[in-house]
Assembly symmetry: C2
Homo-oligomer: 324 residues x 2
Protein backbone atom coordinates (compact mmCIF):
# COMPACT_ATOMS: atom_id res chain seq x y z
CA UNK A 1 0.00 0.00 0.00
CA UNK A 2 1.01 3.62 -0.44
CA UNK A 3 1.90 5.86 2.50
CA UNK A 4 3.11 9.43 2.88
CA UNK A 5 6.58 8.69 4.20
CA UNK A 6 8.80 11.05 6.18
CA UNK A 7 12.41 9.85 5.96
CA UNK A 8 13.97 12.45 8.27
CA UNK A 9 13.93 16.00 9.60
CA UNK A 10 13.26 18.56 6.85
CA UNK A 11 13.07 15.82 4.20
CA UNK A 12 10.32 16.08 1.57
CA UNK A 13 7.28 13.90 2.22
CA UNK A 14 6.95 11.12 -0.34
CA UNK A 15 3.76 9.29 -1.21
CA UNK A 16 5.07 5.86 -2.11
CA UNK A 17 4.77 2.13 -1.53
CA UNK A 18 5.73 1.42 2.06
CA UNK A 19 5.00 -2.07 3.35
CA UNK A 20 1.57 -3.17 4.51
CA UNK A 21 -0.53 -2.16 7.53
CA UNK A 22 -0.67 -5.37 9.55
CA UNK A 23 -3.27 -5.47 12.33
CA UNK A 24 -1.89 -6.68 15.66
CA UNK A 25 -3.98 -8.40 18.35
CA UNK A 26 -7.32 -6.61 18.73
CA UNK A 27 -6.56 -4.31 15.86
CA UNK A 28 -8.48 -3.81 12.66
CA UNK A 29 -7.72 -2.26 9.30
CA UNK A 30 -9.29 1.02 8.28
CA UNK A 31 -9.29 2.11 4.65
CA UNK A 32 -8.44 5.82 4.85
CA UNK A 33 -10.78 8.12 2.95
CA UNK A 34 -9.50 11.43 4.28
CA UNK A 35 -6.90 12.51 6.84
CA UNK A 36 -6.46 16.00 8.30
CA UNK A 37 -3.28 17.88 9.15
CA UNK A 38 -2.37 19.20 12.58
CA UNK A 39 0.41 21.55 13.66
CA UNK A 40 1.92 18.49 15.26
CA UNK A 41 2.57 17.00 11.81
CA UNK A 42 4.38 20.11 10.66
CA UNK A 43 6.47 20.30 13.84
CA UNK A 44 7.49 16.68 13.43
CA UNK A 45 8.75 17.31 9.88
CA UNK A 46 10.88 20.13 11.36
CA UNK A 47 12.21 17.91 14.13
CA UNK A 48 10.40 19.97 16.78
CA UNK A 49 8.79 17.08 18.64
CA UNK A 50 10.02 14.57 21.19
CA UNK A 51 10.50 10.89 20.35
CA UNK A 52 11.22 11.17 16.63
CA UNK A 53 12.05 8.06 14.64
CA UNK A 54 12.38 7.67 10.89
CA UNK A 55 11.05 6.65 8.47
CA UNK A 56 7.55 7.30 9.79
CA UNK A 57 4.00 7.86 8.60
CA UNK A 58 2.25 10.85 10.17
CA UNK A 59 -1.47 11.61 10.40
CA UNK A 60 -3.56 11.70 13.59
CA UNK A 61 -6.94 12.48 12.03
CA UNK A 62 -8.61 9.75 10.03
CA UNK A 63 -12.02 9.11 8.57
CA UNK A 64 -12.48 5.91 6.63
CA UNK A 65 -14.08 2.52 6.25
CA UNK A 66 -13.72 -0.54 8.43
CA UNK A 67 -15.42 -3.11 6.23
CA UNK A 68 -18.83 -1.46 5.65
CA UNK A 69 -18.66 0.77 8.72
CA UNK A 70 -17.90 4.47 8.24
CA UNK A 71 -15.69 5.55 11.14
CA UNK A 72 -13.54 8.22 12.67
CA UNK A 73 -10.56 7.14 14.77
CA UNK A 74 -9.83 8.26 18.34
CA UNK A 75 -6.16 9.27 18.04
CA UNK A 76 -5.48 9.06 21.83
CA UNK A 77 -3.46 5.98 22.82
CA UNK A 78 -2.69 4.78 26.36
CA UNK A 79 -4.47 7.60 28.19
CA UNK A 80 -4.82 5.30 31.21
CA UNK A 81 -7.41 5.17 33.99
CA UNK A 82 -7.21 8.70 35.38
CA UNK A 83 -9.57 11.15 33.67
CA UNK A 84 -7.54 14.04 35.13
CA UNK A 85 -4.37 13.29 33.21
CA UNK A 86 -2.83 10.99 30.62
CA UNK A 87 -0.46 8.16 31.49
CA UNK A 88 3.32 8.41 30.99
CA UNK A 89 3.00 6.00 28.05
CA UNK A 90 0.40 8.20 26.36
CA UNK A 91 0.87 8.76 22.64
CA UNK A 92 -0.97 10.01 19.60
CA UNK A 93 -1.72 8.23 16.33
CA UNK A 94 0.96 9.11 13.78
CA UNK A 95 4.23 8.73 15.72
CA UNK A 96 5.44 6.47 17.16
CA UNK A 97 2.55 4.39 15.76
CA UNK A 98 2.17 4.77 11.97
CA UNK A 99 -0.62 7.25 11.23
CA UNK A 100 -3.33 7.92 8.72
CA UNK A 101 -1.50 9.58 5.81
CA UNK A 102 -1.74 6.28 3.95
CA UNK A 103 -4.18 4.03 2.15
CA UNK A 104 -4.74 1.95 5.26
CA UNK A 105 -4.14 2.31 8.97
CA UNK A 106 -4.34 -0.35 11.65
CA UNK A 107 -5.75 0.51 15.09
CA UNK A 108 -7.49 -1.25 17.99
CA UNK A 109 -11.19 -1.66 17.26
CA UNK A 110 -12.00 0.26 20.47
CA UNK A 111 -10.63 3.39 18.75
CA UNK A 112 -13.32 3.31 16.06
CA UNK A 113 -16.38 5.54 16.42
CA UNK A 114 -19.25 5.92 13.99
CA UNK A 115 -18.73 8.78 11.60
CA UNK A 116 -21.53 11.32 12.19
CA UNK A 117 -23.86 10.74 9.26
CA UNK A 118 -24.17 14.40 8.28
CA UNK A 119 -20.45 14.76 7.57
CA UNK A 120 -18.49 14.09 4.38
CA UNK A 121 -15.26 12.12 4.66
CA UNK A 122 -13.32 15.35 4.55
CA UNK A 123 -15.41 16.98 7.26
CA UNK A 124 -15.23 13.86 9.44
CA UNK A 125 -11.44 13.65 9.06
CA UNK A 126 -11.20 17.20 10.42
CA UNK A 127 -12.74 16.13 13.69
CA UNK A 128 -10.62 13.80 15.86
CA UNK A 129 -7.57 15.53 17.35
CA UNK A 130 -8.77 19.13 17.26
CA UNK A 131 -12.35 18.27 18.21
CA UNK A 132 -11.18 16.18 21.14
CA UNK A 133 -8.78 18.87 22.37
CA UNK A 134 -11.44 21.57 22.10
CA UNK A 135 -14.07 19.43 23.81
CA UNK A 136 -11.95 18.61 26.84
CA UNK A 137 -10.67 22.17 27.24
CA UNK A 138 -14.12 23.74 26.91
CA UNK A 139 -16.31 21.28 28.80
CA UNK A 140 -14.24 18.97 31.03
CA UNK A 141 -11.74 21.61 32.08
CA UNK A 142 -13.41 25.03 31.78
CA UNK A 143 -16.86 23.60 32.55
CA UNK A 144 -18.65 25.92 30.13
CA UNK A 145 -22.33 26.48 30.82
CA UNK A 146 -25.09 27.72 28.53
CA UNK A 147 -25.44 31.50 28.63
CA UNK A 148 -21.84 32.16 29.62
CA UNK A 149 -19.49 34.38 27.65
CA UNK A 150 -16.51 32.71 26.00
CA UNK A 151 -13.43 34.15 24.35
CA UNK A 152 -11.56 32.00 21.84
CA UNK A 153 -8.08 33.36 21.18
CA UNK A 154 -6.37 32.92 17.82
CA UNK A 155 -9.45 31.84 15.94
CA UNK A 156 -8.61 30.15 12.64
CA UNK A 157 -6.70 27.19 14.03
CA UNK A 158 -8.41 23.83 14.15
CA UNK A 159 -8.89 23.54 17.91
CA UNK A 160 -9.90 27.20 18.22
CA UNK A 161 -12.59 26.80 15.57
CA UNK A 162 -14.00 23.66 17.17
CA UNK A 163 -14.02 25.38 20.57
CA UNK A 164 -15.83 28.24 18.83
CA UNK A 165 -18.45 25.99 17.22
CA UNK A 166 -18.93 23.81 20.31
CA UNK A 167 -19.39 26.87 22.52
CA UNK A 168 -22.02 28.29 20.14
CA UNK A 169 -23.83 24.95 20.05
CA UNK A 170 -23.76 24.82 23.87
CA UNK A 171 -25.61 28.14 24.03
CA UNK A 172 -22.70 30.41 24.95
CA UNK A 173 -22.02 33.94 23.73
CA UNK A 174 -18.78 33.65 21.81
CA UNK A 175 -16.06 36.23 21.14
CA UNK A 176 -12.79 35.80 19.29
CA UNK A 177 -9.35 37.28 18.88
CA UNK A 178 -7.06 37.02 15.89
CA UNK A 179 -4.25 38.97 14.24
CA UNK A 180 -6.26 38.88 11.01
CA UNK A 181 -9.26 41.15 10.39
CA UNK A 182 -10.39 38.69 7.77
CA UNK A 183 -10.50 35.81 10.26
CA UNK A 184 -12.40 37.96 12.76
CA UNK A 185 -14.93 38.86 10.07
CA UNK A 186 -15.34 35.19 9.17
CA UNK A 187 -15.90 34.27 12.82
CA UNK A 188 -18.58 36.96 13.13
CA UNK A 189 -20.24 35.54 10.02
CA UNK A 190 -20.24 32.15 11.74
CA UNK A 191 -21.94 33.54 14.85
CA UNK A 192 -19.37 35.34 17.01
CA UNK A 193 -20.82 38.28 18.96
CA UNK A 194 -17.63 40.25 18.55
CA UNK A 195 -13.90 40.08 17.99
CA UNK A 196 -10.66 41.89 18.66
CA UNK A 197 -7.36 42.14 16.84
CA UNK A 198 -4.65 41.26 19.35
CA UNK A 199 -2.06 43.20 17.37
CA UNK A 200 -3.74 46.28 18.85
CA UNK A 201 -1.99 46.68 22.20
CA UNK A 202 -5.06 48.17 23.86
CA UNK A 203 -7.47 45.54 22.55
CA UNK A 204 -8.25 44.19 26.01
CA UNK A 205 -9.31 47.60 27.35
CA UNK A 206 -11.50 48.31 24.34
CA UNK A 207 -12.92 44.81 24.55
CA UNK A 208 -14.02 45.22 28.17
CA UNK A 209 -15.46 48.65 27.42
CA UNK A 210 -17.49 47.28 24.53
CA UNK A 211 -18.46 43.80 25.73
CA UNK A 212 -17.58 43.61 29.47
CA UNK A 213 -15.58 40.58 30.60
CA UNK A 214 -15.87 36.89 29.74
CA UNK A 215 -16.46 33.79 31.87
CA UNK A 216 -14.36 31.29 29.92
CA UNK A 217 -11.25 31.74 27.80
CA UNK A 218 -9.73 29.10 25.53
CA UNK A 219 -6.14 29.96 24.67
CA UNK A 220 -3.40 28.28 22.66
CA UNK A 221 -0.75 30.98 22.80
CA UNK A 222 0.42 31.95 26.29
CA UNK A 223 3.15 34.59 25.90
CA UNK A 224 2.96 38.25 26.91
CA UNK A 225 -0.58 38.42 25.53
CA UNK A 226 -1.78 36.20 28.36
CA UNK A 227 -1.87 39.35 30.52
CA UNK A 228 -4.65 40.74 28.35
CA UNK A 229 -6.62 37.52 28.75
CA UNK A 230 -6.44 37.85 32.53
CA UNK A 231 -7.60 41.44 32.12
CA UNK A 232 -10.75 40.45 30.19
CA UNK A 233 -11.49 37.51 32.52
CA UNK A 234 -14.55 38.05 34.70
CA UNK A 235 -14.34 37.26 38.41
CA UNK A 236 -14.70 33.48 38.69
CA UNK A 237 -13.48 32.93 35.11
CA UNK A 238 -11.80 29.75 33.91
CA UNK A 239 -8.94 30.03 31.42
CA UNK A 240 -8.07 26.78 29.67
CA UNK A 241 -4.76 26.70 27.84
CA UNK A 242 -3.94 23.92 25.37
CA UNK A 243 -1.00 25.41 23.47
CA UNK A 244 1.98 27.69 23.94
CA UNK A 245 2.84 29.12 20.55
CA UNK A 246 3.91 32.46 22.11
CA UNK A 247 6.03 30.96 24.85
CA UNK A 248 5.95 31.53 28.58
CA UNK A 249 3.16 33.39 30.24
CA UNK A 250 4.27 36.66 31.89
CA UNK A 251 4.59 37.02 35.68
CA UNK A 252 1.11 36.95 37.19
CA UNK A 253 0.04 38.60 40.42
CA UNK A 254 -1.36 36.05 42.90
CA UNK A 255 -3.58 38.82 44.28
CA UNK A 256 -5.42 39.10 40.96
CA UNK A 257 -5.73 35.32 40.75
CA UNK A 258 -7.16 34.86 44.20
CA UNK A 259 -9.26 37.99 44.46
CA UNK A 260 -10.89 37.24 41.08
CA UNK A 261 -10.97 33.52 42.01
CA UNK A 262 -9.55 32.69 38.56
CA UNK A 263 -8.70 29.19 37.37
CA UNK A 264 -5.86 28.60 34.91
CA UNK A 265 -6.28 25.12 33.52
CA UNK A 266 -3.78 23.25 31.38
CA UNK A 267 -5.48 20.88 28.95
CA UNK A 268 -4.26 18.55 26.24
CA UNK A 269 -6.07 16.01 24.06
CA UNK A 270 -8.65 13.90 25.92
CA UNK A 271 -9.64 10.37 26.93
CA UNK A 272 -11.91 7.86 25.23
CA UNK A 273 -15.12 8.92 26.98
CA UNK A 274 -14.46 12.52 25.97
CA UNK A 275 -13.87 11.43 22.39
CA UNK A 276 -17.14 9.53 22.41
CA UNK A 277 -19.02 12.49 23.94
CA UNK A 278 -17.45 14.84 21.41
CA UNK A 279 -18.56 12.74 18.43
CA UNK A 280 -22.08 12.48 19.92
CA UNK A 281 -22.14 16.25 20.48
CA UNK A 282 -21.15 16.89 16.86
CA UNK A 283 -23.82 14.47 15.61
CA UNK A 284 -26.53 15.89 17.89
CA UNK A 285 -25.84 19.52 17.00
CA UNK A 286 -25.08 18.76 13.34
CA UNK A 287 -21.84 20.68 13.63
CA UNK A 288 -19.97 20.93 10.35
CA UNK A 289 -16.21 21.38 10.81
CA UNK A 290 -14.77 24.39 9.05
CA UNK A 291 -12.59 23.16 6.20
CA UNK A 292 -9.90 25.46 4.94
CA UNK A 293 -8.84 23.46 1.91
CA UNK A 294 -8.57 19.91 0.59
CA UNK A 295 -5.54 18.50 -1.17
CA UNK A 296 -5.02 15.11 -2.83
CA UNK A 297 -2.50 13.23 -0.68
CA UNK A 298 -0.08 13.40 -3.63
CA UNK A 299 0.09 17.20 -3.01
CA UNK A 300 0.78 16.87 0.70
CA UNK A 301 3.79 19.17 0.36
CA UNK A 302 1.56 22.11 -0.57
CA UNK A 303 -0.82 21.27 2.27
CA UNK A 304 2.02 21.25 4.83
CA UNK A 305 3.32 24.55 3.45
CA UNK A 306 -0.08 26.19 3.85
CA UNK A 307 -0.35 25.06 7.45
CA UNK A 308 3.19 26.18 8.23
CA UNK A 309 2.41 29.68 6.96
CA UNK A 310 -0.65 29.87 9.26
CA UNK A 311 -2.86 31.03 6.39
CA UNK A 312 -5.64 28.59 7.08
CA UNK A 313 -9.07 29.21 8.55
CA UNK A 314 -10.21 25.75 9.48
CA UNK A 315 -8.74 22.35 8.85
CA UNK A 316 -6.52 21.32 5.97
CA UNK A 317 -7.43 17.82 4.79
CA UNK A 318 -5.74 15.27 2.56
CA UNK A 319 -7.96 13.16 0.36
CA UNK A 320 -6.70 9.63 0.05
CA UNK A 321 -9.51 8.71 -2.26
CA UNK A 322 -11.86 11.20 -3.86
CA UNK A 323 -14.20 12.82 -1.27
CA UNK A 324 -17.88 11.97 -1.21
Amino acid sequence: MKSLVLDGINKALEYRSYGEAVPQDGEVLVQVKAAALNHRDVWITKGMYPGLQFPCVLGSDVAGLHKERAVVINPSFNWGDNPAVQDMSYNILGLPRDGGFAEYVSVPESHLFDKPAHLTWTQAAALPLAGLTAYRALFSRANLKSGEKVLISGVGGGVALFAFQFALAAGAEVYVTSSSEEKIAKAIELGAKGGANYKDEAWHKNFVQQYDGVDVIIDSAGGEGFKSLIFVANPGARIAIYGGSRGKMPPISPQILFWKQLSILGSTMGHAAEFSDMVDFVAKHKIIPVIDREFPIEDAGAAFERMEKGLQFGKIVLQVESGE
Copy 2:
Protein backbone atom coordinates in the same frame (compact mmCIF):
# COMPACT_ATOMS: atom_id res chain seq x y z
CA MET B 1 -18.37 49.36 75.91
CA LYS B 2 -14.65 49.04 75.36
CA SER B 3 -13.13 48.47 71.92
CA LEU B 4 -9.60 48.22 70.53
CA VAL B 5 -9.59 51.40 68.48
CA LEU B 6 -7.31 52.18 65.56
CA ASP B 7 -7.25 55.94 64.97
CA GLY B 8 -5.06 55.97 61.87
CA ILE B 9 -2.21 54.37 59.94
CA ASN B 10 0.69 53.36 62.20
CA LYS B 11 -1.13 54.68 65.27
CA ALA B 12 -0.99 52.61 68.45
CA LEU B 13 -4.08 50.49 69.12
CA GLU B 14 -6.01 51.71 72.15
CA TYR B 15 -8.41 49.64 74.24
CA ARG B 16 -10.89 52.24 75.39
CA SER B 17 -14.55 53.21 75.64
CA TYR B 18 -15.89 53.66 72.13
CA GLY B 19 -19.66 54.03 71.83
CA GLU B 20 -22.03 51.09 71.90
CA ALA B 21 -22.59 48.23 69.43
CA VAL B 22 -26.13 48.87 68.23
CA PRO B 23 -27.78 45.98 66.32
CA GLN B 24 -29.38 47.06 63.02
CA ASP B 25 -32.34 45.24 61.42
CA GLY B 26 -31.83 41.48 61.64
CA GLU B 27 -28.67 41.90 63.66
CA VAL B 28 -27.93 40.58 67.10
CA LEU B 29 -25.37 41.36 69.76
CA VAL B 30 -22.55 38.92 70.52
CA GLN B 31 -20.55 39.23 73.71
CA VAL B 32 -16.99 38.62 72.57
CA LYS B 33 -15.07 35.99 74.55
CA ALA B 34 -12.03 35.71 72.31
CA ALA B 35 -10.95 37.19 68.97
CA ALA B 36 -8.05 36.05 66.79
CA LEU B 37 -5.58 38.09 64.75
CA ASN B 38 -5.07 37.79 61.02
CA HIS B 39 -2.37 39.25 58.76
CA ARG B 40 -5.14 41.45 57.43
CA ASP B 41 -5.35 43.24 60.79
CA VAL B 42 -1.63 43.99 60.77
CA TRP B 43 -1.72 45.21 57.16
CA ILE B 44 -4.59 47.55 57.99
CA THR B 45 -2.65 49.14 60.85
CA LYS B 46 0.16 49.77 58.31
CA GLY B 47 -2.23 51.27 55.75
CA MET B 48 -1.66 48.35 53.38
CA TYR B 49 -5.29 47.58 52.64
CA PRO B 50 -7.92 49.11 50.39
CA GLY B 51 -10.89 51.06 51.75
CA LEU B 52 -9.38 52.30 55.01
CA GLN B 53 -11.41 54.58 57.26
CA PHE B 54 -10.62 55.73 60.79
CA PRO B 55 -11.28 55.39 63.61
CA CYS B 56 -12.12 51.71 63.20
CA VAL B 57 -12.35 48.50 65.21
CA LEU B 58 -10.59 45.51 63.62
CA GLY B 59 -11.08 41.81 64.28
CA SER B 60 -12.56 39.24 61.85
CA ASP B 61 -12.44 36.20 64.11
CA VAL B 62 -14.88 36.03 66.98
CA ALA B 63 -16.11 33.43 69.41
CA GLY B 64 -18.63 34.56 71.98
CA LEU B 65 -22.09 34.42 73.46
CA HIS B 66 -25.37 35.42 71.89
CA LYS B 67 -27.64 35.22 74.95
CA GLU B 68 -27.01 31.62 76.11
CA ARG B 69 -25.77 30.39 72.73
CA ALA B 70 -22.03 29.84 72.24
CA VAL B 71 -21.19 30.89 68.71
CA VAL B 72 -18.52 31.59 66.14
CA ILE B 73 -19.17 34.30 63.56
CA ASN B 74 -18.92 33.88 59.79
CA PRO B 75 -16.78 36.90 58.85
CA SER B 76 -17.82 36.88 55.14
CA PHE B 77 -20.30 39.64 54.24
CA ASN B 78 -22.15 40.11 50.92
CA TRP B 79 -20.62 37.10 49.15
CA GLY B 80 -23.66 37.04 46.87
CA ASP B 81 -25.32 34.19 44.97
CA ASN B 82 -22.44 32.83 42.93
CA PRO B 83 -20.44 30.11 44.71
CA ALA B 84 -17.60 30.63 42.21
CA VAL B 85 -16.78 34.17 43.28
CA GLN B 86 -17.70 36.89 45.75
CA ASP B 87 -19.79 39.92 44.82
CA MET B 88 -18.27 43.37 44.21
CA SER B 89 -19.77 44.52 47.54
CA TYR B 90 -18.08 41.66 49.43
CA ASN B 91 -16.38 42.61 52.68
CA ILE B 92 -14.96 41.07 55.82
CA LEU B 93 -15.90 41.66 59.44
CA GLY B 94 -13.59 44.28 60.96
CA LEU B 95 -13.48 47.01 58.28
CA PRO B 96 -15.55 48.65 57.02
CA ARG B 97 -17.93 47.05 59.55
CA ASP B 98 -16.66 47.30 63.14
CA GLY B 99 -15.06 44.00 64.12
CA GLY B 100 -14.57 41.78 67.09
CA PHE B 101 -11.70 43.38 69.01
CA ALA B 102 -14.27 44.74 71.48
CA GLU B 103 -16.55 43.66 74.29
CA TYR B 104 -19.49 43.31 71.91
CA VAL B 105 -20.00 43.02 68.19
CA SER B 106 -23.24 43.30 66.24
CA VAL B 107 -23.83 41.03 63.23
CA PRO B 108 -26.78 39.53 61.33
CA GLU B 109 -28.09 36.45 63.10
CA SER B 110 -27.47 34.40 59.93
CA HIS B 111 -23.74 34.83 60.57
CA LEU B 112 -23.87 32.93 63.85
CA PHE B 113 -22.87 29.27 63.92
CA ASP B 114 -22.73 26.98 66.92
CA LYS B 115 -19.30 26.87 68.47
CA PRO B 116 -18.00 23.29 68.19
CA ALA B 117 -18.44 21.93 71.70
CA HIS B 118 -14.92 20.48 72.00
CA LEU B 119 -13.27 23.89 71.59
CA THR B 120 -12.39 26.52 74.19
CA TRP B 121 -13.27 30.13 73.41
CA THR B 122 -9.70 30.76 72.34
CA GLN B 123 -9.61 27.74 70.04
CA ALA B 124 -12.99 28.61 68.55
CA ALA B 125 -11.92 32.20 67.90
CA ALA B 126 -9.00 30.88 65.87
CA LEU B 127 -11.33 29.24 63.42
CA PRO B 128 -13.42 31.61 61.27
CA LEU B 129 -11.33 33.48 58.69
CA ALA B 130 -8.38 31.10 58.40
CA GLY B 131 -10.52 27.96 58.64
CA LEU B 132 -12.89 29.22 55.97
CA THR B 133 -10.04 30.19 53.63
CA ALA B 134 -8.33 26.84 54.09
CA TYR B 135 -11.55 24.88 53.63
CA ARG B 136 -12.50 26.54 50.36
CA ALA B 137 -8.97 26.34 48.94
CA LEU B 138 -8.51 22.69 49.88
CA PHE B 139 -11.93 21.22 49.18
CA SER B 140 -14.03 23.52 46.98
CA ARG B 141 -11.16 24.63 44.78
CA ALA B 142 -8.47 21.92 44.87
CA ASN B 143 -11.04 19.15 45.37
CA LEU B 144 -8.80 17.14 47.69
CA LYS B 145 -9.60 13.43 47.94
CA SER B 146 -8.70 10.93 50.62
CA GLY B 147 -5.39 9.21 49.90
CA GLU B 148 -3.94 12.05 47.86
CA LYS B 149 -0.65 13.75 48.65
CA VAL B 150 -0.82 17.40 49.68
CA LEU B 151 1.90 20.00 50.10
CA ILE B 152 1.21 22.97 52.37
CA SER B 153 3.70 25.77 51.75
CA GLY B 154 4.74 28.15 54.51
CA VAL B 155 3.33 26.10 57.35
CA GLY B 156 2.98 28.12 60.54
CA GLY B 157 0.48 30.68 59.29
CA GLY B 158 -3.15 30.31 60.29
CA VAL B 159 -4.60 29.25 56.95
CA ALA B 160 -1.66 26.94 56.23
CA LEU B 161 -2.10 25.14 59.55
CA PHE B 162 -5.84 24.68 59.05
CA ALA B 163 -5.22 23.39 55.52
CA PHE B 164 -2.69 21.02 57.09
CA GLN B 165 -5.10 19.77 59.78
CA PHE B 166 -8.08 19.54 57.42
CA ALA B 167 -6.04 17.57 54.87
CA LEU B 168 -4.90 15.13 57.55
CA ALA B 169 -8.48 14.71 58.78
CA ALA B 170 -9.62 14.08 55.19
CA GLY B 171 -7.21 11.16 54.92
CA ALA B 172 -4.51 12.80 52.83
CA GLU B 173 -0.74 12.37 53.12
CA VAL B 174 0.51 15.79 54.08
CA TYR B 175 3.87 17.47 53.45
CA VAL B 176 4.98 20.97 54.37
CA THR B 177 7.51 23.62 53.51
CA SER B 178 8.80 26.38 55.74
CA SER B 179 11.89 28.54 56.14
CA SER B 180 12.09 27.36 59.74
CA GLU B 181 13.40 23.92 60.72
CA GLU B 182 11.55 24.30 63.98
CA LYS B 183 8.21 24.77 62.23
CA ILE B 184 8.89 21.78 59.97
CA ALA B 185 9.69 19.67 63.02
CA LYS B 186 6.46 20.79 64.71
CA ALA B 187 4.44 19.92 61.60
CA ILE B 188 5.98 16.45 61.55
CA GLU B 189 5.04 16.05 65.20
CA LEU B 190 1.48 16.96 64.24
CA GLY B 191 1.37 14.30 61.52
CA ALA B 192 3.20 15.57 58.42
CA LYS B 193 4.90 12.80 56.42
CA GLY B 194 7.78 15.08 55.54
CA GLY B 195 8.93 18.62 55.05
CA ALA B 196 11.36 20.80 53.18
CA ASN B 197 13.10 24.07 53.92
CA TYR B 198 12.44 26.37 50.98
CA LYS B 199 15.55 28.40 51.78
CA ASP B 200 17.44 25.47 50.25
CA GLU B 201 17.40 26.27 46.52
CA ALA B 202 17.38 22.61 45.52
CA TRP B 203 14.61 21.63 47.92
CA HIS B 204 12.16 20.73 45.15
CA LYS B 205 14.58 18.28 43.53
CA ASN B 206 15.40 16.61 46.82
CA PHE B 207 11.71 16.53 47.70
CA VAL B 208 10.74 14.69 44.51
CA GLN B 209 13.63 12.27 44.96
CA GLN B 210 12.57 11.47 48.51
CA TYR B 211 8.75 11.62 48.32
CA ASP B 212 7.82 11.79 44.59
CA GLY B 213 5.35 14.49 43.57
CA VAL B 214 2.15 15.73 45.17
CA ASP B 215 -1.45 15.94 43.94
CA VAL B 216 -2.54 19.11 45.67
CA ILE B 217 -0.58 22.20 46.72
CA ILE B 218 -1.89 24.99 48.95
CA ASP B 219 0.22 28.12 48.59
CA SER B 220 0.09 31.61 50.05
CA ALA B 221 3.31 33.01 48.66
CA GLY B 222 3.60 33.04 44.88
CA GLY B 223 6.93 34.67 43.98
CA GLU B 224 9.93 32.94 42.38
CA GLY B 225 9.40 29.92 44.62
CA PHE B 226 6.22 29.09 42.72
CA LYS B 227 8.46 27.44 40.09
CA SER B 228 9.48 24.83 42.63
CA LEU B 229 5.83 24.12 43.43
CA ILE B 230 5.13 23.44 39.75
CA PHE B 231 8.17 21.15 39.76
CA VAL B 232 6.85 19.02 42.63
CA ALA B 233 3.30 18.96 41.21
CA ASN B 234 2.24 15.56 39.91
CA PRO B 235 0.56 15.32 36.52
CA GLY B 236 -3.06 16.33 37.07
CA ALA B 237 -2.21 18.31 40.22
CA ARG B 238 -4.25 21.23 41.51
CA ILE B 239 -2.44 24.22 43.00
CA ALA B 240 -4.65 26.54 45.03
CA ILE B 241 -3.19 29.95 45.85
CA TYR B 242 -4.80 32.18 48.49
CA GLY B 243 -2.01 34.69 49.17
CA GLY B 244 0.83 36.48 47.47
CA SER B 245 3.34 37.40 50.15
CA ARG B 246 6.28 36.84 47.75
CA GLY B 247 4.78 38.80 44.85
CA LYS B 248 4.27 37.81 41.26
CA MET B 249 4.65 34.24 40.11
CA PRO B 250 7.53 33.76 37.64
CA PRO B 251 6.90 33.19 33.91
CA ILE B 252 5.34 29.75 33.45
CA SER B 253 5.61 27.56 30.39
CA PRO B 254 2.18 26.72 28.93
CA GLN B 255 3.64 23.43 27.70
CA ILE B 256 4.26 22.30 31.29
CA LEU B 257 0.77 23.43 32.31
CA PHE B 258 -1.04 21.62 29.53
CA TRP B 259 1.10 18.53 29.27
CA LYS B 260 0.86 17.96 33.05
CA GLN B 261 -2.81 19.08 32.93
CA LEU B 262 -2.17 21.33 35.93
CA SER B 263 -4.77 23.60 37.49
CA ILE B 264 -3.76 26.88 39.14
CA LEU B 265 -6.68 28.04 41.23
CA GLY B 266 -7.03 31.41 42.90
CA SER B 267 -9.03 31.21 46.12
CA THR B 268 -10.03 33.68 48.78
CA MET B 269 -12.28 33.38 51.85
CA GLY B 270 -15.52 31.44 51.20
CA HIS B 271 -19.31 31.64 51.21
CA ALA B 272 -21.82 30.81 53.94
CA ALA B 273 -22.32 27.16 52.96
CA GLU B 274 -18.56 26.63 53.03
CA PHE B 275 -18.38 28.26 56.47
CA SER B 276 -21.12 25.97 57.72
CA ASP B 277 -19.43 22.89 56.20
CA MET B 278 -16.11 23.94 57.70
CA VAL B 279 -17.53 24.27 61.24
CA ASP B 280 -19.25 20.87 60.85
CA PHE B 281 -16.00 19.34 59.61
CA VAL B 282 -14.11 20.70 62.62
CA ALA B 283 -16.78 19.39 64.98
CA LYS B 284 -16.96 15.99 63.32
CA HIS B 285 -13.19 15.44 63.26
CA LYS B 286 -12.64 17.11 66.64
CA ILE B 287 -9.97 19.30 65.12
CA ILE B 288 -8.26 21.55 67.62
CA PRO B 289 -6.83 24.71 66.07
CA VAL B 290 -3.16 25.29 66.76
CA ILE B 291 -2.83 28.26 69.08
CA ASP B 292 0.45 30.11 69.06
CA ARG B 293 -0.23 32.38 72.02
CA GLU B 294 -3.02 34.17 73.87
CA PHE B 295 -2.87 37.80 74.97
CA PRO B 296 -5.35 39.80 77.04
CA ILE B 297 -6.87 42.38 74.68
CA GLU B 298 -5.19 45.07 76.76
CA ASP B 299 -1.83 43.74 75.40
CA ALA B 300 -2.94 43.78 71.77
CA GLY B 301 0.16 45.76 70.80
CA ALA B 302 2.41 42.84 71.74
CA ALA B 303 0.15 40.43 69.88
CA PHE B 304 0.30 42.55 66.71
CA GLU B 305 4.07 42.78 67.02
CA ARG B 306 4.40 39.01 67.25
CA MET B 307 2.30 38.49 64.14
CA GLU B 308 4.18 41.14 62.23
CA LYS B 309 7.49 39.41 62.96
CA GLY B 310 6.08 36.11 61.60
CA LEU B 311 7.26 34.22 64.67
CA GLN B 312 3.99 32.45 65.28
CA PHE B 313 3.12 28.81 64.74
CA GLY B 314 -0.64 28.88 64.81
CA LYS B 315 -3.12 31.56 65.69
CA ILE B 316 -2.59 34.51 67.98
CA VAL B 317 -5.70 35.17 70.01
CA LEU B 318 -6.90 38.07 72.13
CA GLN B 319 -8.90 37.23 75.24
CA VAL B 320 -11.65 39.70 75.87
CA GLU B 321 -12.73 37.89 78.99
CA SER B 322 -10.75 35.15 80.62
CA GLY B 323 -10.74 31.92 78.56
CA GLU B 324 -12.71 28.91 79.68
